[in-house]
Symmetry: C2
Subunit: 306 residues, 2 copies
Amino acid sequence: MRPEDERPPVVAFSDRVAAAVELKRSQLVVGLDPRIDLLPVELRGEAVGGREAAAAAVERFCKGIIDAVAPYVVAVKPQVAFFEALGSDGWRALESVSRYAAEIGLLVIADAKRGDIGSTARAYAAAFLEPRGAEPPLADALTVNPYLGGDSMDPFLSACRNHGAGLFVLVRTSNAGGRDLQDAVLSDGTPVWRHVAGLVAEWGADLTGERGMSSVGAVVGATVPRVIGDARRTMPQAIILLPGVGAQGATPADVARAFTSGPASALDNASRSVIYAYRDGEDDWRAAAGHEAARLTAETWAASGW
Amino acid sequence: MRPEDERPPVVAFSDRVAAAVELKRSQLVVGLDPRIDLLPVELRGEAVGGREAAAAAVERFCKGIIDAVAPYVVAVKPQVAFFEALGSDGWRALESVSRYAAEIGLLVIADAKRGDIGSTARAYAAAFLEPRGAEPPLADALTVNPYLGGDSMDPFLSACRNHGAGLFVLVRTSNAGGRDLQDAVLSDGTPVWRHVAGLVAEWGADLTGERGMSSVGAVVGATVPRVIGDARRTMPQAIILLPGVGAQGATPADVARAFTSGPASALDNASRSVIYAYRDGEDDWRAAAGHEAARLTAETWAASGW
């Protein structure tokens, strides 16, 4: 880069996470999993009448949740599948919701679990992590699937380097079927998931920010606590995204050991337990989400030991 | 199902493939990988002016290719990443292109490599493989990633059972990085990809059609011929989708051993070598694609030994 270059310097995703964690004293990410059948009744009514109406209801719901949880969370994580289930109308809602979250200062992690080869991976990087003409990227970070190996990661790693993007690579997922492949044991005694963790450490080695963490993070299910400490040791610089807090059963205490690399070295992800909190009480749906986010944030912060 | 039920019986995806293969004497699938920078100059010009214009150009290109190759191929395989790179406008083009292909009688394999857990996998199945209100499914079959294991497959398997959908599970991909995880050797001496092949055989065991093939197929890169025979033996009932023919270097002869379970037991996939064939000659882009599809179809049929 020439010294007179006008482009602002790229701030590493991991440093942006660290700044947000310190500012908000929060390590919480709220997942946006908009299921029509779980929407508050007023929005479920609006969603009748085809996919365009459903997408509009989803958009209103997500924006309401974002407003409610914004003071307490560092990021939102739209689950792309629920938008895609509404086709191009859903994608338009995803774009609008992501823009809205970014405008009010939240990081956006697109949960899309993409993974492909060569020019196709390049296209996914462009879709999610690169500026779109005059518009900013759709998301700050993306979840990706490691099954296709290192060269399938290259375009995403370039987006980290050139645009300050982040990645969360699936390492050990929170579902029962995670065992089928991820827990298979290699000839050297390493389970597949730890082999992948080693690859994650390698892929992210030269993408560390000023705070020492890498922009290449990992997804490790909070429902398998025995794995978390081991994952932390194998990937000391990876930000660990921990789904499974809340609705899937894990508690923040289960996952405290993920935070041993620093206050911004892991993120708790709660989705349904926050966004559908209204179903367990008498609060307005927005208020219920805000209360639950505030509660989980405080609980996580305390449990993280920072 | 009650005897008086009015719903037409579900025809297994594998039987639909077999019927198309016999009718057309073809085992060719043409991939639709619309890259703006490779489009014919007339369309590249139209694509200038933002994503909506680019999506319109992509739609025209794909429909032109579909018209040209329709007599020679059993299916088209839109690569979803290239549409997603154009955001919601791209998704609208994907919907339009898929509908067009279905209307002129081609099977549509959405190459999206999706994979997620629980209700999220459910949403992906709805997005790609299930009727959308009064409209038919976006695609007849979907490529999926096995990293999340058996329960992540369940919603897709249900779509196979209830809607005659098909799956192609990534087993061994054609890229160099496929080695990083897929070739890792398990403690019993099995490479990871063959372990996955075993899972594919299991997942598809009760989804066989009248011709004996399963609706749960597999992706095995045609660039790793030594793997193909082994994959065939491990998954005798899986339709093997073979990317890598053409631009990626494999020849139909390399892959003939995939066809030992029957003429419709494998599908050769060529993408760039067909849709961008015009770049190597003086033909109109549609004519060039048609000629190359016809040539590859005949070559594959001869090499398959049927």
